[in-house]
């Protein structure tokens, strides 16, 4: 029995390995072609002695290349003093973003703005290629353009929000997510999902 199991596993392994090898060969070919193109471009740049203008049908750049010890534009402005002076720190673990900051002001605020946006805005977001990873035809968070709110619905949201009265327990009361959506701070955004949103979208008969 044990031999059979081992045989099956090894067959699966072989299949996976064959697939990986195929992908790898294809990738290497593609990379080699791209590398050859880049070498051609690089040769042009070197021939023209550090200064070249690359003319393309839609873009024109004046590129100035210089060896790394001469120019001053680095990806970083030098080493981190905190990392160098404290011997026990690791560069990868030096900074961390708190959960409230990353979730409420990051993920939740984006989601809230996307839910409250109009159909026209969602259409443009769906066509934007620089946005979050999304399927073609959809905006981020898998929102279709048809899911957007109409102007009447957005006005209804602001009207309801104007009628809300917050007690003094809310140190800084949450503001209207339609009018003041992106400008709210974490303390206000934390109150949105549990205190504001259920009343903002409830159906009135």
């Amino acid at each position: 029995m044990r031999d059979d199991v081992e045989l099956k596993l090894s067959e699966q392994d072989q299949k996976v390995r064959a697939q990986v090898a195929q992908v790898r060969v294809a990738w290497d070919l593609r990379e080699a072609c791209a590398c050859a193109c880049s070498m051609l471009v690089r040769g042009c740049v070197l021939l023209t002695h550090r200064k070249a203008s690359i003319h393309l049908p839609f873009l024109t750049f004046f590129v100035q290349d210089s060896p790394p010890e001469q120019h001053g534009f680095l990806g970083t402005h030098g080493f981190s003093r905190v990392h160098l002076l404290l011997w026990y720190t690791l560069f990868n673990d030096l900074c961390f973003v708190p959960f409230a900051h990353a979730f409420f002001r990051g993920v939740f605020r984006d989601f809230m703005l996307m839910v409250l946006s109009t159909q026209e805005a969602l259409k443009t977001r769906a066509n934007k290629s620089t946005d979050l990873p999304h399927l073609p035809g959809y905006a981020a968070f898998h929102m279709k353009p048809a899911d957007g709110l109409t102007r009447k619905q957005r006005k209804e949201c602001t009207d309801r929000m104007n009628r809300f009265i917050f007690t003094s327990d809310f140190d800084r009361p949450p503001e209207c997510p339609v009018r003041h959506g992106p400008s709210q701070i974490m303390e206000q955004l934390m109150r949105q999902p549990d205190c504001v949103m259920p009343l903002l979208f409830v159906e009135v008969r």
Partner: protein, 237 residues
Amino acid sequence: MPVSFAFDYGEAYNNRPYSVGIVAIKCEDLPDIEGSSLRFQRPIMFFPPEMDSEGKPIGACKHVNGCLLPLLQDLQRLGPKVPDNFEYDAPTHLGSLKQEELGTGIPIWPNVFDSRKRAVRSASTFICHILAIGWHADAPARAKLLNTLSHTAILGCSYCHMTQTEIKGNVKKFMGYSAPSTITRGLLEGKDMQMVGATPHIKWCTYFTCAQPSPFVACPLNYRDWICHRRCAMMWN
């Protein structure tokens, strides 16, 4: 005793917004409910904003390294000792303390005083070491702490010491590099890496190749993930 620090920019006395740097300390050696109360989170440093010749604040504090130096020296003095088998030379040219001053710690006498300030109970003395486990910081503050490019930089990478290219109009971007540059930190530390773009749309087609021994030898696929996952995510979109 583990402590964590928080660094962010704020507005003080109706100055320019986000101009004053604020550093706060938090004790991490307590349960969550206790440690997250304001009693154990204290602001300890304020960095002044950038001033013009007339004394008006014109921007955020940019000399964070110099302002942080007293705190870092204290942390060096109070921090743990460097083990013998750990290779570390104190960078005194950067304002560090001398090697023998590191990890001194602070002696603590846990005495209990009564209302007349007389010690009623005393325990044995011990030496306390303070360990800075990390920094809470948002994207602009983190860029200042780590000396990296700002969060608004196009394809700014906090790991590589790779070079930028100057484009027309005093704009600098990562556009692909013809010369290999040595990476000085991160997982690819000490390796000569090269960033080559076949087209000027480097934002969408960036890939990395190892310059040695031959520029045509491609790196393993893993290297792509090691360098910067942001660029890879953009590439695969």
